[in-house]
Symmetry: C2
Subunit: 538 residues, 2 copies
């Protein structure tokens, strides 16, 4: 569109940009015309030979393929977003830019839908005093997913257009220019990839399988649901940070390349580090604690966490985004538990209130029950969970950890009894927690540690940490941890450290479970795009 | 403090917590008393033997070492922050918690300073009807940097206390309890580490050298300047995100473990990935671009960036926090340049207005000129910079890249001519930019690319990227890039991609240069703490 024939658009461009003389503009336009023509010729393939039979092209200069944008001119025309088209502006001519979502030529007319992120609008071009047959042909040959600029008049639709997000508007086309052409063969269609997921097969609609999606992630990410999921992920991060910042937390950034495995040594990625080797941090926890020993009081960090675990389940990834926080407390680690619990309440409320549209978009493709939570959140103690599970027929010892099926069952039992999809499980058995976990002073079988759950899946694990270097040493020895591998960690508590607790959250899991995507196999991959774009060997 | 003798404090605890019966409380108190006494005995060393000559201890139960906090009781008393102590509350008794910053016993009294993050207050204990000689001795023996709880009366100071941030208040001590004891031997004193940096030696004050600081990072981070620098870093990140989010940018998270080196292969860390190998991402750029091709329109990401470069200069680190953004534009990449330029203006204004206190704190230790900027920012084109440098005597060709000394000189020349510490340098020679950079359509020697500078150092590098897969292939071949290593990258533009541009910022460098810390050798290390805590082999 920035280039083409001397048309009314071009005139507007010259007037608006005010940067070039008419002579310059004409010269550039001419050069561009040539290029566009060449491209249009190529695009229309055999079309041009037929031109003579169709008569002279009255639409010349109103359509074509733009020269590749190299930033030759500025602000040629105003382009508005599809979401900003209004019925009240009917009669106005506007420019929009978007993808050719679908198109269908029917004799002397062509219907097509332009998609702009999550929004769609129907466009209509028909042969008339300014639209030639050649132009209709050109439009009908544009490959789907190409980015096009369309100049058109806003027209109130005669009847509701169910297939578009703009249901009361139709655009009557004046100009169509291809900004960036898509390859003509698409491995998947966005409309197929966006189709509602149901248990039953509905009609003969094409479905896109998971492998095709992942192999063509750039296309798959263009579906309304994926556009929304990414915005929700951004929302989770932003709510996490805002809620904590308002309470005096300081954001820190912890090292990812570290000298020793931060959590024992299993499942750690090794890095060649100049002449030696290093590891990828499995958790920012030890660094958060060092920040507490260094007097930052309350800290959080958002960043990559690396685990060399098989990621063929929907629960784990080798790389995910950790939302971590740590906080000094005065008397009792419940000061921290309450802070985290309240933070989740704020995140759930923020998502519900600020992302209604995105949640609805995801639900259109992936129907699910709305996420339920209590304010303040429910806090159970471990023995209570064990009782509930035993009542439901699960055989387990007092100090056994919860298996994944037991966690899920517990989630259902809690939902039935308390009507909440979120709860805190406090006081885990000491035996199932890491060496740095503070034992419960009142019962040596338990510890000052907690997990938090969404729809029966653990999304946070945390604890009061041992802040006394001597006791920490004693516990490490009991756990058989090599003291020399954690010397720097223990030493960081030698110059006084306040009692503190914290926890780490998997960002993708929170988003997934909030949206109720847990029952969809491999759905985790839908959200992260990390593994996929990375194209890492399995 | 949570444990001790049955005192008025204990009484308060029982009343406030309301959770335990008197009997329980007494039982626990007794148990705790024993523990505290054992600890106090140990702490006071020979002190107790002298007790008989000092007479009966009237302060018993008003001082000592607390049992390690295991969260036995809740909210025993209200503890207020040192910064919230007010002269108008003179006469009130309060509890504070902080570090023993300095202490000095003088006969029957002991002066000590309590530090709570960046705030300090003077405390005074003197022998009277409720404070025993034994208690004064105990206080004077507490090791510096220990965390203590102090109950005291707020008293208006007779004269200004220059050495503390609370200059008009003194605390007259009633109780002192050690919460977490520091090792008695400190490798550095916070007051030495916090001393003003000047060119001349001033008096005989002890100075702390860089190695000692880095070896004892937990202590060094407790200095007011470092406490402030970390808060400013958090401020830079938060301003970056907020400014962009308000303009419709979506936060994304890009993979750190990738299958191929994202920028050519030099200076990349290799990771053992199960049975194969992978690499650490040197830049999120390719992934940001994929997000643009996937219709996110405007994206940003904050995260670790890894470069296997020698980090023995203050300019580079093997790991730093990247603030990256990418944006589709309609006509001209200056739409993006203007967005980034304005974003910096907002960051500079935000730091200036919201972090005055932190900036002043840093300047107290590291004096520097305030950071100057223009609104809108200055944009120069490369040939103009070359002219300025040549006028100043630098010999360079039209298409030479800027050397580091030339950049610094240019920064000084621009400052002298335009009175700004920030500017945009546009239109870099094509030859010095990566293969994916869009050439200038008007002059094939130049490109649609730009760097941005603070105080003569580059803090952002960016460009319009080539969004056409065929032209990208052509440029990659010209640069000798192996096409099979970038196949996924090129393929991501095959289904249509809008013209786009972006840039990447080094977060630590922005903070450092905003604060004018550039002239301090190794100061980068002061800010990051990444390399240091990581304790990575050199």
């Amino acid at each position: 569109m920035t280039e083409g024939k001397e048309t009314d658009k071009k005139g507007a461009a010259a007037a608006e940009s005010g940067e070039k003389s008419k002579g310059q503009m004409r010269k550039e336009a001419k050069k561009a015309e040539k290029a566009a023509k060449r491209a249009a010729d190529k695009e229309q393939k055999g079309g041009q030979q037929q031109a003579e039979t169709d008569g002279p092209d009255i639409s010349q200069g109103k359509y074509g393929v733009q020269e590749m944008n190299q930033s030759k001119v500025k602000n040629v025309v105003d382009i508005i977003n599809v979401k900003d088209l209004k019925v009240k502006d009917a009669g106005n001519k506007v420019w929009i830019r978007g993808r050719l979502h679908t198109s269908r030529a029917k004799g002397k007319q062509c219907f097509f839908v332009i998609r702009d992120q999550q929004e769609t609008v129907q466009c209509l071009a028909f042969v008339n005093e300014r639209i030639s047959k050649q132009m209709i042909k050109f439009i009908s040959h544009i490959s789907k997913e190409s980015i096009v600029d369309v100049e058109a008049e806003i027209v109130k639709a005669d009847e509701k257009i169910e297939s578009c997000s703009q249901q009361n508007i139709e655009l009557h086309v004046h100009q169509v220019w291809v900004v960036s052409a898509s390859a003509p063969q698409l491995p998947l269609l966005i409309e197929d990839a966006a189709r509602k997921v149901t248990d039953e097969e509905e009609g003969n609609f094409a479905r896109v399988n998971q492998d095709t999606r992942l192999d063509n992630r750039i296309l798959d990410l263009r579906t309304p649901a994926n556009q929304a999921i990414f915005r929700l992920e951004a929302g989770v991060c932003s709510l996490f940070r805002d809620v904590l910042t308002k309470q005096g937390f300081v954001e820190i950034h912890t090292p990812k390349i570290i000298s020793a495995a931060s959590e024992g040594g299993a499942n750690v990625f090794k890095v060649s580090y100049f002449k030696g080797s290093a590891y990828l941090a499995q958790s920012p926890q030890l660094y958060k604690q060092m920040a507490i020993a260094a007097d930052f009081g309350k800290v959080f960090t958002v960043g990559g966490v690396f685990r060399a675990e098989d990621s063929n389940t929907h629960r784990h990834l080798t790389e995910f985004v950790g939302l971590d926080m740590e906080m000094a407390f005065k008397f009792h680690y419940h000061e921290v538990v309450d802070t985290i619990g309240n933070m989740f309440t704020q995140i759930f409320k923020g998502l519900r209130d600020k992302f209604q549209g995105e949640i609805a978009t995801v639900n259109t493709q992936y129907p699910s029950e709305p996420f339920k939570f209590l304010d303040p959140p429910l806090r159970l103690e471990f023995p209570e969970a064990v009782s509930m599970l035993r009542e439901a027929g699960v055989e387990m010892g007092d100090e056994d950890d919860l298996s994944t099926p037991a966690e899920k069952l517990l989630g259902r039992l809690v939902k039935a009894k308390y009507d909440t999809d979120f709860f805190i499980l406090d006081k885990f058995p000491l035996a199932v927690r890491p060496f740095y976990t503070m034992p419960d002073p009142n019962n040596q079988k338990y510890s000052n540690s907690y997990d938090m759950f969404m729809r029966g899946e653990e999304i946070l694990s945390g604890a009061q940490r041992i802040h006394d270097p001597n006791f920490l040493t004693e516990r490490a020895k009991l756990h058989g941890v090599e003291l020399n591998t954690i010397a720097a960690y223990i030493d960081s508590f030698r110059y006084g450290c306040p009692p503190h607790a914290g926890g780490g959250i998997g960002m993708e899991r929170v988003t997934m479970l909030y949206l109720g995507l847990d029952n969809i196999r491999n759905n985790m991959d839908l959200i992260t795009y990390v593994d996929i774009l990375a194209d890492t060997p399995p």
